[in-house]
């Protein structure tokens, strides 16, 4: 059973097959536990490096098919990946601590990407929402914007309003159940990426 929920242009949500294969670098040889004030650090800071040169070099990229590639890997292995982009077979994965500017710097027209996925390592990392909103509004991105990683139904409503139109639900949860959450609220107060604040939408007098 697929875990991918997609929104059609009319907002209708359905579970669909996932055509994209995610390219994932191998885990680093040894990852030291990062600590601050005695606590394990859970989040990377915006601007921190995502993968080491070694990880990037050792990443296996499938020779055919549609692939979702981390931005860092694209940056390092552009020559090899360029034809896939031209063929419409390449999408980019942005981590929540990477920036929309870094993505734009790579693609003169970000709409040449059929899909951008934002990978959230931990659901509590709300950067994904601002990144989504930026890509849609400031950067004018029109194609598929997908939330991947630790994606749970209780955040979907926010993802949707921040501009995401597909959601890869975490493997151990039911995408079927998650569908309902997209409509938790019928008339939000503030504007989202695709709507305006309630007072511009409705006459409340």
């Amino acid at each position: 059973m697929s875990q991918l929920i997609q929104l059609a242009a009319n907002g209708q949500a359905s579970i669909v097959a996932d055509e994209w294969t995610r390219v994932v670098p191998p885990a680093p040889a040894e990852e030291s536990v990062r600590k601050q004030a005695g606590k394990v650090v859970l989040f990377k800071l915006t601007g921190e490096p995502t993968f080491s040169a070694e990880q990037i070099a050792n990443t296996h990229i499938p020779a055919t098919g549609k692939i979702l590639v981390p931005l860092t890997i694209w940056q390092a292995r552009k020559a090899e990946l360029q034809p896939r982009l031209a063929a419409g077979e390449l999408g980019i994965v942005l981590a929540t601590h990477e920036t929309a500017e870094a993505l734009q710097a790579e693609f003169a027209d970000i709409n040449s990407l059929p899909i951008i996925a934002i990978f959230v390592e931990r659901f509590a990392d709300g950067r994904i929402f601002t990144l989504g909103a930026w890509l849609r509004t400031r950067f004018g991105y029109k194609n598929e914007l997908r939330a991947i990683g630790d994606v749970l139904r209780d955040q979907l409503f926010f993802h949707k309003r921040a501009g995401f139109n597909s959601f890869l639900i975490r493997a151990d949860r039911s995408a079927e159940d998650a569908l309902a959450s997209l409509n938790d609220f019928s008339q939000p107060y503030q504007g989202g990426v695709a709507d305006v604040p309630v007072w511009r939408r409705v006459n409340r007098a």
């Binding site: 990377k44 509004t137 400031r138 926010f158 008339q187 007072w199």
Partner: protein, 554 residues
């Protein structure tokens, strides 16, 4: 006050349904503790020492009598018959059951109340001055904008999971009573040279482990842009705030790390994309919301009332109450009344179900059915006629709500501390009670005059100890409870963070320590000088000398 329309009601109802299902999934084991945590927190539910704790939102401190009656019934039915007003104007229940919380929220929804975003790493309940709309020194009534901001921040799609909690305070008076400088964003409303409503924006204030007063990031913001401007600030914070270390995650740390110029540059860059967009508040929307905050149907009354004057002259107890608990009002013949939730020897801010009913009745009979909560943890009847004050006093007194100590040493701001809070290093309620008992002589309290004493049970500073004239902080030393004392903190326009006077004290020593601080003040003060001014003039040294000298000889 603001009245829900069908949209507001639907949002709250849908929230109850959503949360009911989340609780069901949690109890069924479909959600882990970690996954449920932010969900319950954003519905006001902490898991605390004895039981869950539920924090009910009182937006900018406004309550109707009907709402208060509902709160009384809820505390009776689901808790132990009392609630605790917090320093953020909300009401906390200390003993609800997790399984009951969806029902509690459903009951709240029937009176246009909820617990949305009273905790969690999102934009919290917006706070303001308890005298908004009636204060003689008010320049702009900020409540309509506060309500518009409440709506904008409720389920904001981008700001549900910020690096840390985010607090906004609004103030529209000459004398700041909302502590705008101790908030992540403080909005100070004023009239600009053209007579238009404008906002001075403070950013990066906060207490807690690293107390920092905010910095002005913008002297003049046109009110129409307040949402887009705040959105720009919070976007910068959402992306660049530190998530790697919870103690450094507040916006104050980001502002300090970047410096206000660089932070401001980033905000301006972001704002350029948002300004004049759909978030711009229209005059229509402001007017629609402001309608709910129009002045009450006041009568035309003389500025004086002979019977009231006579009662003050002949009844010293009443006179004492009038002096401390009755406040000026912009409309002639009216006064605001603070009902003290600080009787000596009881937990500051606590109120029983029965008292809630009394207060609701008082509000109906004498104050247009409305009341307010203050960050000092008291309740206010904002619109009482002079001629009714005596009756209000008698009824409030009978219910134990008329301790004439507002603004005095025993009007203590106090967090729940070790009795309820699982983060506490030490108890705070018994310290407050012991100090209140030590200073149970009202004449002496009056002689000491205006003094703010704030107590927190740990570094998180829920009791605002940093900005108390005297601040008491519970600390943990080798597993036992100790108390560190600061003096010279202040809220308001000339806010300051207090200075630690020296090594900490045991619980038993605390009433004596406060007594000795007061002795120095009484000895050293000049003319009408308040405690805080004496501390500012003399510094910590004489206080320290006296407190610790006594300690050595004792």
């Amino acid at each position: 006050m603001y009245k829900y329309d069908p949209i507001d009601q639907q949002i709250v109802n849908e929230r109850v349904a959503q949360y009911r299902d989340q609780t069901r999934r949690y109890l069924a084991g479909e959600l882990t503790d970690e996954e449920f945590r932010p969900l319950r927190l954003q519905n006001g539910l902490y898991i605390q020492r004895h039981a869950p704790m539920l924090r009910i939102a009182v937006p900018y401190g406004l309550l109707s009598s009907k709402q208060l009656r509902k709160l009384a019934d809820i505390t009776k039915k689901y808790d132990r018959g009392y609630g605790h007003f917090s320093t953020r104007q909300n009401l906390q229940l200390n003993w609800p059951k997790l399984e009951d919380t969806p029902d509690i929220l459903a009951e709240l929804a029937t009176v246009e109340m909820h617990a949305i975003q009273t905790s969690g790493n999102c934009i919290r309940n917006i706070t303001t001055d308890q005298f908004a709309g009636i204060a003689p020194d008010e320049i702009i009534d900020p409540r309509a904008i506060a309500e518009i901001m409440r709506q904008w921040s409720t389920f904001h799609p981008e700001f549900a999971l910020l690096p840390r909690k985010f607090k906004i305070a609004v103030s529209g008076t000459e004398k700041d009573r909302a502590i705008v400088q101790a908030h992540d964003i403080g909005l100070e409303f004023y009239k600009d040279a053209q007579g238009q409503m404008a906002i001075k924006v403070w950013v990066g204030g906060g207490l807690g482990r690293t107390p920092i007063l905010g910095t002005v990031i913008r002297e003049h913001l046109e009110w129409q842009h307040v949402l887009s401007y705040c959105e720009a600030i919070i976007r910068v914070y959402n992306i660049h705030g530190r998530r790697d270390n919870i103690y450094k995650a507040r916006i104050k740390i980001l502002v300090k790390a970047l410096g206000i110029e660089e932070f401001n540059r980033q905000v301006e860059e972001e704002w350029a994309h948002l300004k004049d967009g759909p978030l711009t508040i229209t005059q229509n929307e402001l007017d629609r919301v402001a309608k709910y905050f129009e002045p009450m149907p006041y009568k035309t009354l003389p500025a004086h009332d002979a019977a009231f004057d006579a009662a003050v002259a002949s009844n010293p107890a009443f006179a004492a109450w009038v002096k401390r608990c009755v406040h000026a009002h912009r409309v002639p013949g009216y006064r605001a009344v603070t009902l003290s939730l600080k009787p000596h020897g009881k937990a500051p801010g606590d109120i029983t179900s029965e008292q809630m009913h009394v207060v609701a009745d008082l509000a109906d009979a004498y104050s247009f059915g409305e009341l307010r909560s203050s960050h000092e943890q008291n309740l206010i009847l904002a619109d009482v006629q002079l001629s009714d004050l005596f009756a209000v006093w008698e009824k409030a007194r009978a219910a134990g709500l008329a301790t004439p100590n507002i603004g005095l040493l025993t009007d203590i701001i106090c967090c729940p501390g070790g009795d309820f809070c699982s983060l506490a290093n030490a108890k705070s309620i018994p310290i407050a009670e012991a100090i209140q008992m030590q200073f149970d002589n009202l004449d002496y309290l009056y002689e000491i005059g205006d003094l703010e004493l704030n107590i927190s049970g740990c570094m998180n500073a829920c009791g605002h100890h940093h900005v108390g004239h005297i601040g008491i902080l519970g600390v943990d030393k080798d597993g036992s409870e100790w108390y560190q004392v600061t003096i010279g903190g202040k809220q308001g326009n000339d806010a300051s963070i207090g200075t630690v006077i020296g090594p900490s004290f045991s619980a038993e020593e605390m009433p004596g320590v406060v007594k000795r601080l007061i002795e120095v003040y009484v000895r050293e003060r000049q003319d009408e000088e308040r405690f805080i001014d004496t501390v500012r003039r003399l510094g910590v040294a004489p206080f320290k000398a006296h407190v610790y000298a006594e300690k050595e000889t004792a």
